[in-house]
Symmetry: C2
């Protein structure tokens, strides 16, 4: 069993955030001892799931919904599975978007390296939009498709 301060340290989350999560219903089974929250391993695992679902782009109210399904028992296995499948698809989409973003960033890094070497952007502009070095052209095309 851990206090809110210990959990805050372990997860590197402000105490105020943990209390906020509790108020929003993300720890439906959280116990208290004379008013003081006692975080068990269940709440620790819940926090891992919260961080996962949050990172996947899910809103707090929908994370709460998930924990309500957990409380409801085995009749909600299917809903819960579907939720995770959907978040998985969303994260895979987001990673694709980030790949494209990364290509643009790499292109811009090359761009400014060359601009610094040349003292101006004229040489680069003469290569645009399709006479860039092959590796760079790939990045440029990926970022501009």
């Amino acid at each position: 069993m851990y206090t809110i301060g210990q959990v805050s340290e372990m997860f590197n989350l402000p105490i105020s955030t943990l209390r906020y999560y509790d108020k929003e219903g993300l720890f439906p089974n959280l116990e208290r001892e004379s008013g003081i929250r006692k975080f068990s391993d269940d709440e620790m695992e819940a926090l891992r799931v919260i961080e996962c679902l949050k990172e996947s782009g899910l809103e707090i109210k929908d994370i709460k919904q998930f924990f309500e399904w957990v409380k409801a028992g085995s009749s909600t296995y299917e809903k819960r599975k579907e939720l995770f499948e959907l978040r998985k698809a969303a994260v895979e989409e987001e990673m694709k978007a980030l790949e494209k973003t990364l290509d643009m960033l790499k292109f811009k890094c090359w761009y400014y390296e060359k601009a610094m070497a040349d003292g101006n952007e004229d040489g680069i502009n003469a290569m645009l939009p399709d006479k860039l070095p092959p590796e760079i052209q790939k990045l440029y095309d990926s970022a501009h498709k």
Copy 2:
């Protein structure tokens, strides 16, 4: 040259968002014809950069800063390059975080598939935390490290 409505369609962004970006100074060279915004290829490329930097996690006010550097000319090449290097590192970090998130999501998908097949979570709980099938154990460990 494009009108705001055309740009809105092309980038799939609300007109109100384009006007908001303009108000925030993200199109420092945007021209107007009797009050009406005229978006040139420069603004189109600016928008691609805006979307890239936004996706990388940069705030609007810092994107504005970048366009001020562009306006300032070749003396800011280094700053601009550093900005893109930093955003590149940030996106690479974020992708790592998403990989871990994805591992947790895949684990949970497996978890609920098995729970549905078994009708309960007992079999799974007996395997936790280190007697899971090898592939699944990898996901679990990645998500719990």
